[in-house]
């Protein structure tokens, strides 16, 4: 399947700091009562962005100066917990196209990759430096160069890590694997045929 080649991601960034930010926090379970992913964007980080009566709290994502940000910055083990794809879908529907964090939970990382949303790992120092630059100038243009594994902003730049398998898939426009998986149909039948429990 021909998909867009993701070579760079450019946009405004916003920092949501913290370690072990789980997918329950990214999208609380009660908003998963739906049969499509449409409309999930407005519930992104809902409980940390709103008081119990629904009025907004002080939160970077509620701050008008960060409106329209497409790159999220965070800490260690981002996206841990539940495998719910509702979390990356909520980020995507809210306009995010990439996440830069110190590290990522595995299932979350894979879910983001199949949506064409690169997750780039960086050091705490570099992320703090970028967050400070964004805080000073919220319209700062930030570019993740997927090919070079680097982030550029203002006159500065730093190294990030996007594991090769994901990086190559973004660059080749094959981040949604369905086309290639379907092409392997005959091979699948062979593998399945050798496993007795796969019989009808």
């Amino acid at each position: 399947m021909a998909l867009e080649k993701i070579v760079t991601v450019t946009g405004k960034a916003v920092s949501v700091p913290g370690s072990d930010i789980d997918t329950d926090r990214i999208i609380p379970a009660r908003f998963m009562k739906c049969v499509t992913f449409d409309g999930l964007g407005e519930y992104l980080f809902y409980d940390v962005r709103h008081h119990e009566d629904g009025t907004p709290k002080t939160h970077p994502l509620n701050d008008p100066k960060h409106a329209g940000a497409s790159i999220l910055l965070s800490g260690v083990n981002f996206g841990c917990g539940s495998s719910r794809e509702h979390a990356p879908q909520a980020l995507h529907k809210a306009g995010f196209r990439a996440v830069i964090a110190q590290s990522f939970a595995e299932i979350f990382f894979g879910n983001c990759a199949t949506l064409g949303m690169p997750c780039a790992a960086a050091t705490a120092e570099d992320i703090e430096k970028l967050a400070a630059a964004v805080e000073a100038n919220p319209v700062l243009e930030v570019t993740i160069d997927v090919e070079k594994n680097r982030v550029f902003f203002g006159d500065d730049n730093f190294t990030v890590n996007i594991p090769d398998s994901a990086r190559e898939a973004f660059l080749a426009g094959q981040w949604d694997p369905i086309g290639e998986l379907l092409e392997g149909e005959a091979n699948v039948a062979n593998t399945a045929g050798a496993l007795s429990y796969m019989g009808a």
């Binding site: 913290g18 370690s19 072990d20 789980d22 329950d24 926090r25 609380p28 379970a29 009660r30 998963m32 009562k33 739906c34 049969v35 409980d47 940390v48 709103h50 119990e52 260690v76 083990n77 841990c80 917990g81 539940s82 495998s83 719910r84 794809e85 509702h86 879908q89 590290s103 939970a105 595995e106 299932i107 894979g110 879910n111 199949t114 949506l115 594991p163 090769d164 398998s165 994901a166 190559e168 898939a169 094959q174 949604d176 694997p177 369905i178 290639e180 998986l181 379907l182 392997g184 091979n187 699948v188 062979n190 593998t191 399945a192 050798a194 496993l195 007795s196 429990y197 796969m198 009808a200």
Partner: protein, 477 residues
């Protein structure tokens, strides 16, 4: 060359290498539920695809089902009703077996799979649910996937995946009285951290796992993801085969014998290579509870809540402060004595017959403290039936617990079972994240079912060994 179970199962299911270096992996058994699958069926239709191997996908409904009057439809929540109906329609349209409420076999997907004998050694199992590693207790390579990957598995019976490393975790020796499988996994998570397992499959072994029942093994494997490991397993042995024999989806007669031979051969070879090995002494483990908002925020019930002032690492200090602020717990104070509002026994971690049986042993003749709301939620309709046959439900009701119908319930509160305000819940579930149990300010302390029973009886976090005089446990049993 000698190989680990992971290696053998991976190789037997590896279809081919994909252009990005990942493996196209055959998923022998696919389990689905109502929350993460409807969008996948939608994607399938959008692409004009169908379900390739419908007999290898099995469905149940668990997250959104009410646990009171669940046979009465429509449910009070129209969204829940819409979700169960979507699953019914999808299963009917594509010819997928659905353990619906009326079948008597409904329950939490990770309880139903083993119960039906669908979960078997040497297989690959995927489900749109991070607690899928539960099935690893049978020597399967089982892991959670996202919804787009559910689409992939439905359409091709395969998915793209990078190979994991394998970490062997040995727990040797003898667990002290009053220490359970839940304490073992909470201890492992505390020791290795919530992200310690990223990139790894965990192979659990050692004398403690040899002695564990299948249900105890499931409790440990279930929470692998809380330690960052997408997949966790125990090598199959006679206990595994004994558990599976005669279950509906298991082979019979001569085919059973062949299957057992195959299952024996899939276990890790004694001298195989592991990427990492961790050794834990059973004697070092005590009844455990969490104090914070991540499953690795664990301590023994005899210990005190951490004090951020004693933490030199600024990152960790900040994380302790954030957790204590949310939990409204005093730094440095003993965790025992913390008042509880709600007690919950259930979930895919601890909602099986042996969990209720063990707690009932101690609840008999005791009463839930005033002002504590206590609920017991069987993991499946079959668990419910067996508990009723044994009179376990009566022990719980007589003690003041509400005995409910099967489902995920208050583990993640997608049904009407929710904490209110900043209620504190002693819970046998698996996650203590902020807001996890349905109230944005609700608080969760994770522990074993017997520890929940002790909290229910005293009205505060308690050492079950003292409350129930566990030195005499053998006499009670």
């Amino acid at each position: 060359m000698s190989q680990s179970l992971f290696e053998k199962v991976w190789n037997a299911h590896a279809v081919r290498e994909l252009s990005n270096g990942q493996t196209q992996l055959l998923i022998g058994t696919h389990l689905i539920h109502e929350v993460t699958s409807p969008q996948a069926f939608g994607m399938l239709r959008d692409l004009g695809l169908t379900v390739k191997y419908p007999h290898r996908t099995f469905a149940t409904v668990d997250h959104i089902v009410p646990t009171q009057s669940q046979t009465v439809e429509p449910f009070a929540d129209p969204l829940a009703q819409e979700m169960i109906e979507a699953l019914r329609k999808n299963c009917a349209e594509f010819g997928i077996t659905f353990f619906d409420i009326a079948t008597g076999h409904q329950g939490i997907v990770h309880v139903v799979g083993p119960e039906q004998g669908i979960t078997q050694p040497g297989t690959t199992i995927a489900c749109g649910d991070s607690h899928t590693a539960t099935h690893g207790a049978f020597g399967a390579i089982a892991f959670g996937i996202g919804t787009t990957q559910i689409r992939d598995v439905l359409a091709t019976q395969t998915m793209a995946l990078g190979k994991m490393k394998v970490r062997r975790i040995n727990v040797d020796g003898e667990l002290p009285p009053g220490v359970y499988a839940k304490d073992v996994i909470l201890h492992i998570i505390k020791r290795l951290g919530a992200k310690g397992g990223i990139g790894y499959a965990y192979e659990y072994g050692g004398s403690v796992f040899d002695d564990f029942s299948m249900e105890e093994r499931m409790t440990v494997c279930n929470m692998s993801i809380e330690g960052g490991a997408r997949c966790g397993y125990v090598n199959p042995d006679e206990k595994t085969f004994e558990y599976l024999k005669g279950r509906p989806h298991c082979p019979e007669g001569a085919e059973w014998d062949t299957a057992v031979e195959r299952w024996k051969a899939v276990a890790s070879d004694p001298d195989c290579h592991y990427d990492d090995v961790v050794n834990i002494r059973a004697e070092d483990i005590a009844p455990s509870v969490t104090w914070g908002i991540s499953p690795d925020h664990g301590i023994f019930v005899t210990e005190s809540i951490p004090d951020p002032a004693n933490e030199s690492d600024p990152e960790k200090r900040k994380s302790i402060e954030e957790a204590l602020e949310y939990m409204k717990l005093p730094a440095g104070a003993p965790i025992a004595g913390t008042p509880v509002d709600v007690c919950f026994i259930g979930s895919c971690t601890n909602g099986r017959v042996s969990d209720f049986r063990e707690a009932a042993k101690f609840l008999k003749g005791r009463r839930v403290a005033a002002n504590v709301k206590a609920i017991a939620v069987p993991g499946s309709q079959i668990v419910d039936t067996i508990c009723k046959q044994e009179g376990i439900d009566r022990v719980f009701s007589d003690a003041g617990f509400e005995w409910r119908e099967a489902g995920c319930s208050m583990c993640l509160a997608m049904n009407p079972d929710k904490l209110v305000g900043d209620q504190l819940c002693a819970s046998s579930s698996n996650r203590n994240f902020k807001g996890r149990q349905g109230s944005p300010t609700g608080r969760t302390i994770l522990m074993s079912p017997v520890m929940v029973a002790a909290a229910a009886v005293t009205g505060h976090i308690s050492d079950a060994r003292e409350v129930f005089e566990v030195e005499n446990a053998a006499a009670v049993a």
